[in-house]
Assembly symmetry: C2
Homo-oligomer: 191 residues x 2
């Protein structure tokens, strides 16, 4: 998606430790007009797949998932990362190791909101080692739902998550795939 | 907002400990068509206030804030609750005590994304004791930005947050104010 790649080249910042900072438009401050273009593109890719629900994970996937859902006219469910009194009762859970935060955490979705009748599109802002996406796929499998595929805004193509998950037969569509990046040379995208 | 009150009456569940569960449409599974009506109503209320930015807090405020921002054509910034490698450098911070989670946590916004030029509309799903909203107002004051007001989806009118914050001269618009609630009698709204 050219608009997105141009924006990453213009406003993204590469930091030590393979960090691509896109917090001025994607995951801290959020450019909602850009999100509308992203949502439209996910709908172009998955609009004919009978999607009944969009699944994402808190926090930075939520905005993109909600704007995208407007094109599909389906509800969004976000997996929760942190214990709360507000999820009681039966939940599906999975363990996720976080590259960004350097920890392992449990993700949860209430069983009421994911079931065998659902065809699920997973939306997230980043795909790197793929742990969050694998966790979300776990939840979908546990619910007996069907995975339509994953829509990712930025994939770090130099990490192995994308290859690993595509090798399982999962359709993964990433709107920008970073082939390599460095503080000196900036971001190079896969063609 | 009648549509919202009807929905809370139909699908909300009152649980022990003053918990109003609206997780089937508001803060776990999210009804995006309802969010569009909510966003339209916030725009009716604040559309003439020169809002330049919407501020919310992760996680459950993000979806509502993003859909609302489409009417204002302004960016959304969400305050982060959890330490991450992705916010480095200068941040505004405030301490928030959480009624829902029974803990105290720090919220943060990068200084790059909030400044004296901003007129800020705060959006959140719930207002109860008002701690999260007070924390967000702290961040806006620290940034030297102007607070246009707060748009709240559900206010627990029997808790003191709304009265406290309005007494400070802040405009607070809540789309549904719960006067009282109980497992036996359900939800009674303020007229």
């Amino acid at each position: 998606m050219q608009l997105l790649k141009d924006r990453i080249r213009r406003d993204g910042k590469v930091k030590a430790g393979n960090i691509l900072k896109v917090d001025s438009f994607l995951n801290h401050q959020m450019d909602i007009d850009l999100f509308a273009e992203i949502g439209k593109e996910f709908f172009r890719l998955y609009g004919d797949c009978g999607v009944t629900k969009i699944l994402t994970i808190e926090a930075s996937g939520i905005g993109i998932a909600c704007i995208t859902a407007q094109f599909f006219h389906v509800p969004v469910v976000f997996a929760k990362k942190h214990a709360t009194k507000n999820i009681a009762g039966d939940v599906y859970t999975s363990q996720v190791a976080s590259f960004t935060h350097g920890t392992t955490y449990q993700i949860r979705v209430a069983k009421d909101f994911l079931g065998p009748q659902d065809r699920v599109l997973v939306i997230d802002d980043f795909l790197a080692k793929g742990n969050a996406l694998l966790g979300l796929i776990d939840l979908i499998e546990a619910a007996g739902a069907t995975l339509a595929g994953a829509g990712i805004v930025v994939e770090k193509g130099f990490q192995d998550g994308g290859a690993l998950i595509r090798a399982k037969g999962v359709r993964v569509e990433s709107l920008a795939i970073v082939e390599s990046m460095s503080e000196e040379e900036g971001v190079v995208f896969r063609e």
